[in-house]
Subunit: 369 residues, 2 copies
């Protein structure tokens, strides 16, 4: 991937040990792109960071780390995607703490594909793993990318199900993207790098540290429109992902089980607190109606033209063509397009997610570009 | 049981083949007690019933049926409870179509005991039956009568669980009360007649007719504060009971199971449409908090004095004593009784169900008698 010129600045800021993510976002908000931040006199940055952090920012060590990351990203199939990139996942922009930079291996165009998180216990039962794989395959066949965490058990089964159809799969790692963890899933990770996408927000070489995984879970839910928990004990990382999903406004689904199964208890707790009971993949798809097969035609086509990305494929979208650039209501669009309201609403949501249409107050929609 | 003088009139009206239940309620509403209805010139009744129905009303056949029912009820442990009786279940007065007369065997004072319906499949799994019995035993130990339909499978297990503790059990039959159905539960029915209560709205000798059972189900739910479905297929009589419960404003609970079990599908459908997921008896009891152990002290005491009924035992109720006969709010009652608001609210609900307290607009309560 050809690297954008400012990438070194993004890396310099994100790799400086004393600069937290919140500080970084504040700096970007105040001063614009990282290059502008770094061009400022260090005295002007003193309000935002400690002297140690400022010293680190200009250290040899950080400079070497930047070089290593740039060299890593030069290899085929690798990419660094920043908050400023068009390829940055739009859904992550909705969450309170989007990472400034994502290390990616695989098909970065999947970052903006309609997606569903499928997570659960590392100690899954055989039936649970089979359920996860079946559900994921159906979602993937309906065009949804399956987002999970590359753990053993439910996660691995979900990734396998995703790889089995055109929606494919995204694994969000809790380690550096160059660290294989868990080792038992090394072959699966390579398959995902080839036909799906591996993503990490952590610097290269970051080992498996317990505290990074719960934090990583917000990206699993954040990249997806909904989150399905297949099997989970009451004290389970999957419930952290489900909570993050709910906080991010994503729909949460859980698969029920026997009241005597410890791995059903987490799912039952979720259902009691408002998650939708998912008896079948169809249950989930009917809730995520906007993302069903009929709504995916152009998104799927886009996935087959990775160089252009999803947005370009919408230029010939018949609904966009009907819209003009004035605000318009759904009824008028139905009449113009000759489509039922349900279909038009689904298409509008898809276009909105693709950044081509904005929803205005009063039920009006406007073409953005 | 000594029979009230007007009983023959109740029987004459309910046993006349052409008079529907709705017509009967309309007549009672217009003219008062059955004796008054029957004292009217038949011409005056012609507005309400067909000539055939009026002829049947005064027929020899109906007169003989009345005699048979009176003779049946003369035996120990039997009773006919009419809409006009104090023993008539208050909860049934809330439903749109309360039966005018109930044939009872056993302890009629249970008709006004706090109760929970527990129903499910006739073809229950061994685990399902075990769950039903365990749940029912816990509810019964908490003072709730278990209401069910005496069918094989879940119903029978629920009755057994109810009999195992002090809440006991009520079986609502879809046949005449003198008809044993199903035969396999004959011994269970006798145990219930002895330590619980058998109830039917159907005339003596009514055989098992398919169309009577769904209609009977409204009484199973109607007699209870809530309805728990343990195992049920998608096309199941238990779902009719659950729907009746929801329509009657009762809380509906369902036990989840494997997504691959046909007998979990009915329960899952209920949860999807708003029923509470019940993983344990405690889940149900915490929802029905007003009916928990702490709230039952006086109701349980009443059950041990069947001759007096539940209402009498409330005369010494400390909260009633605090109330006087003026409208009062919960905060004032908490202060007077020295009890927390949660406890006072629960007691008020119990007293309201016992007909001793009325809830007024504006969060006020008033002692009724």
């Amino acid at each position: 991937m050809t690297q954008e010129p400012g990438l070194a600045s993004w890396l310099q800021l994100t790799l400086s040990p004393g600069l937290g993510a919140a500080t970084l976002r504040e700096l970007l908000k105040q001063f614009g792109l990282p290059e502008k931040v770094l061009a400022l006199p260090r005295a002007q940055l003193a309000r935002y960071a400690t002297p140690q952090a400022l010293a680190a920012l200009d250290s040899e060590e950080v400079a070497r780390a930047v070089e290593r990351a740039l060299a890593w990203a030069e290899q085929p199939g690798r990419a660094l995607v920043t908050l400023g990139d068009a390829a940055y996942p739009r859904l992550l922009l909705e969450i309170p703490d989007p990472p400034a930079l994502l290390y990616c291996r695989g098909r970065t165009e999947f970052l903006n594909r309609p997606a569903l998180a499928v997570v659960g216990s590392r100690n899954a039962t055989a039936q649970g793993a089979s359920n996860a794989e079946q559900f994921a395959r159906t979602f993937s066949a309906a065009g949804l990318a399956i987002v999970s965490g590359l753990a053993q058990g439910i996660d691995a089964a979900a990734h396998r199900g995703g790889l089995a159809a055109e929606g494919s799969t995204i694994a969000v790692l809790g380690t550096g993207i160059d660290v294989t963890y868990p080792a038992v899933n090394a072959a699966l990770a390579e398959q995902i790098a080839e036909r799906g996408l591996l993503v990490s927000e952590y610097p290269l070489g970051t080992k498996a540290l317990a505290h990074n995984f719960p934090r990583r879970n917000r990206l699993i839910s954040g990249l997806a429109q909904g989150c399905l928990v297949v099997e989970a004990a009451l004290a389970s990382g999957s419930l952290i992902t489900a909570r993050a999903a709910a906080e991010q406004g994503r729909e949460v689904f859980a698969v029920p089980g026997s009241i005597h199964s410890p791995l059903a208890k987490g799912c039952h707790a979720l259902i009691k607190s408002g998650a939708k009971l998912a008896e079948s993949a169809e249950d989930v798809l009917s809730e995520l109606a906007a993302f069903r097969r009929t709504g995916f035609a152009s998104t799927r086509a886009a996935a087959q033209r990775p160089a252009e990305g999803a947005a370009a494929s919408l230029d010939n979208d018949p609904l966009l063509a009907c819209m003009g650039f004035d605000p318009v209501d759904v009824d008028s669009l139905c009449a113009r397009a000759g489509l039922p309201a349900e279909r038009v609403s689904a298409e509008l949501l898809r276009l909105e997610l693709a950044g081509r249409v904005a929803a205005l107050p009063g039920g009006l929609y406007q073409r953005v570009h």
